[in-house]
């Protein structure tokens, strides 16, 4: 046996033990369909293992740090007091579900004020009480064949949010899902799984929010999360991902969107924290006239690695998709934007657009941006573009010459750049929430640079470079 194979098996042993324990204890262990869903996914994970840089979809992201850490599921219940969570809560939510180490906490959640026709609860409760309702949806969309992390998430599928917006129901205030990882001892992994079903003509906004306490001091944390979002005909759904984990934690998330006829879905991602972060967004426009907005902002500093992987599938005619991702990177941060658009043979009159704009604030920050178009239909409109630039010195000088100090001027310019993404968030509550988080994240990045670095930037002559 080769050394590499031995290492691979050691890694898998850790997951094998965890999976064995999990299968004996997990909610719904007696449901044959769920059991086989988990077993098949685990088998698939064992087969493919963690991706490496040889895998085209992971070319720019080295996850060996994730693969080599012997993560454990949370064994003990962690007690949190409402006061611990106060700074992380969101004002004005219609309901809030709280998950601690992947487990729903009823005591810390509030779903009292939801209108009729809206169900918001824990997936584990649903599995326990009425699994029939979700049997046809859970695992029906997520691709466990292609992606080891999705397979792993499905192997450990148990808890998360289950949201169903019934036919024609309209929820104006957002639902806030707060996932808290509390590391206490061994490296901790959680595999939250969410299922969101928006029935015909319904409307809702859901925010997934990931935070972590204690990472690094006692061990690392991995949130490996997956969400299946089904928007039936004419449904309107806004989904927000807010990733603000400790900068020593790992976060891998997959949002799989299934859209019906004339369904309108917006995915907004805000990546602020985390050591290694992978944000997969995979919408399938599976009904005519569907519209999908894929909007994101990633802000990194230090040695953060923020990878965005978009996989937009047009399966039916007359659909439109819009991808807009902006990145701001400082220090040694490394950003990735991988935008793949697949237009299937039947998807005539597709209108797909992709734009990735990046600001690099230091010489050592790095961005890899890669568009990838696969078009099998002959009557489509697809465009893509990417830019990489620095803060424009002329703009900075202009603001300063009017009396705005350098830090404030830099912050204004960064906020203006980030504001492009904020402007696409149509729900006011989540937008204001996001704006505050962005403003806090940009405080450190707004500090003046030493003049040597700015002179180098000036020398380049061009502030913006078109790529792709």
């Amino acid at each position: 046996m080769t050394q590499a194979a031995k290492v691979q098996i050691q890694r898998l042993e850790n997951y094998l033990a965890a999976f064995g324990d999990f299968q004996r204890m997990a909610t719904g262990r007696d449901l044959p369909w769920l059991r086989s869903l988990r077993e098949n996914a685990f088998a698939r994970f064992c087969e493919v293992g963690f991706p490496t840089a040889r895998d085209e979809d992971w070319r720019f992201t080295n996850i060996s740090a994730v693969a080599e850490t012997p993560f454990q599921l949370s064994r003990r219940a962690v007690r949190l007091l409402p006061g611990d969570l106060q700074p992380w809560r969101m004002e004005g939510a219609a309901g809030q579900l709280l998950f601690v180490n992947g487990r729903f906490s009823a005591g810390l959640s509030s779903v009292a004020n939801l209108p009729q026709g809206v169900h918001v609860g824990s997936l584990a409760n649903q599995i326990e009480e009425n699994p029939k309702e979700i049997e046809n949806h859970l695992g029906a969309y997520l691709n466990t064949e292609r992606d080891a992390f999705c397979a792993l998430n499905t192997a450990f599928v148990e808890d998360g949010a289950y949201i169903r917006i019934h036919r024609g129901a309209v929820l104006t205030a957002p639902i806030h899902l707060l996932f808290v990882s509390v590391v206490n001892g061994a490296p901790l992994m959680t595999h939250p799984r969410n299922l969101i079903i928006a029935e015909e003509g319904s409307q809702a906004a859901v925010i997934e929010d990931y935070v972590s306490f204690g990472a690094g001091d006692n061990g690392e944390a991995l949130s490996n999360t997956a969400t299946e979002l089904v928007a039936h005909d004419n449904a309107i759904v806004s989904h927000y991902l807010i990733e603000r984990e400790d900068t020593r934690a790992f976060n891998v998330s997959t949002l799989r969107i299934q859209q019906g006829r004339n369904a309108n879905v917006a995915s907004h991602s805000l990546l602020l924290g985390g050591a290694i972060v992978r944000n997969n967004v995979h919408p399938v426009l599976a009904g005519e006239g569907g519209e999908c907005l894929i909007n994101g902002l990633f802000i990194g500093s230090g040695r953060q690695h923020l990878d965005n992987y978009m996989y937009v599938e047009h399966a039916k005619p007359h659909c439109s998709s819009r991808q807009f991702y902006n990145g701001i990177l400082d220090g040694h941060a490394h950003g990735v934007f991988h935008g793949r658009i697949i237009v299937h043979k039947d998807a005539q009159k597709t209108d797909a657009k992709q734009t990735n704009r990046n600001l690099l604030l230091s010489d050592d920050a790095q961005i890899d941006t890669k568009p990838q178009l696969e078009i099998y239909a002959d009557d489509v409109k697809c465009t893509h573009g990417a830019t990489i630039g620095q803060i424009e010195e002329d703009a900075l000088f202009y603001l300063r010459s009017r009396g705005i100090d350098e830090t404030s001027a830099r912050k204004l310019l960064l906020l203006a750049f980030a504001g492009e993404c904020l402007g696409r968030m149509k729900e006011e509550g989540p937008r204001a929430f996001a704006e505050n988080l962005i403003s806090d994240s940009l405080a450190e990045l707004s500090k003046p640079r030493d003049s040597a670095a700015s002179a180098r930037c000036g020398d380049s002559g061009r502030e913006w470079e078109e790529v792709g």
């Binding site: 000088f397 300063r400 009017r402 009396g403 705005i404 100090d405 310019l413 906020l415 203006a416």
Partner: protein, 256 residues
């Protein structure tokens, strides 16, 4: 005491000496015009005064209200009362005109120990100034200079000046590219701000602007030095004879 005193100013860009010993004294209430051919250093002088970091001052000093202007950052110069109307105002998407201007005004007020102005106090004053510059308030809801015509940008510069009320305003080729109507509006804005406390430096290539903003002094900058100074009549003479006259070149050489 003079408001501005420039003594033997030398400045370089990329090791090219652009200013080669400029001397100028500006008192409160005065309007000085600096004229000169292309490449003579007019804009460099304006940029140095507004503390642009690209320019490297190698010799000389500038006192503003008795303080060392060359030790100031651009924002500090603005707080002290220096304003430059840019030749090419920058478009900044994502920053609203009104928000920007109120932020700038409040930064200056804070430095002067005055209370910040909230939107309620700011708006009536702002509307007055808009009227003076004949500008549409709707324009102000847009991003800073974004999609503005050339004339709108220049008027926006003067509008900012009118709101920020500097002690010294430098107009860097504000007239270039303006049609006669815009020129009249811009000049009107400037003239309404003339007063015993405030001084102007009007940098221009053409005499035309000076029909509307009549200067007290005209200086001719050639090859990085002021080679002649006089009254408004000097501008007319230059208009007639041009900068290429042998007299000017000879004077430049004589001083070197």
């Amino acid at each position: 005491m003079s408001l501005l005193e420039i003594k033997n100013l030398h400045a370089t860009v990329d090791n090219h000496e652009i200013l080669r010993g400029v001397n100028l004294r500006v008192n409160p209430g005065e309007v000085h015009s600096i004229m000169g051919p292309n490449g003579s250093g007019k804009s460099t002088l304006a940029q140095v005064l507004s503390r642009h970091e690209t320019y490297n001052v190698t010799k000389g000093e500038i006192l503003f209200n008795g303080k060392d202007l060359l030790a100031m950052k651009p924002e500090e110069a603005a707080w002290e009362g220096v304003f430059m109307a840019f030749q090419y105002p920058v478009e900044i998407p994502g920053i609203g005109n009104t928000y920007f201007l109120r932020s700038a005004l409040n930064a200056i007020r804070k430095y002067r120990g005055q209370d910040e102005m909230d939107a309620m106090d700011f708006l009536p004053m702002f509307r007055e100034k808009l009227k003076l510059l004949e500008m549409d308030e709707k324009l102000m809801n847009r991003s800073l200079n974004e999609g503005f015509s050339g004339g709108e940008k220049k008027r926006n510069e003067i509008l900012q000046m009118a709101v920020l009320e500097p002690k010294l305003a430098i107009l860097d080729e504000t007239d270039s590219g303006l049609d006669i109507d815009a020129l009249r509006i811009v000049a009107n804005g400037v003239n309404s701000m003339r007063g015993p406390e405030r001084a102007f430096i009007v940098v221009t290539h053409y005499q035309r602007l000076l029909n509307y903003i009549v200067p007290d002094f005209v200086h001719v900058l050639v090859d990085g030095r002021i080679v002649r100074s006089g009254g408004p009549e000097l501008a007319l003479e230059l208009e007639e004879k041009g900068y290429g006259s042998r007299d000017l070149a000879a004077q430049g050489a004589a001083q070197a």
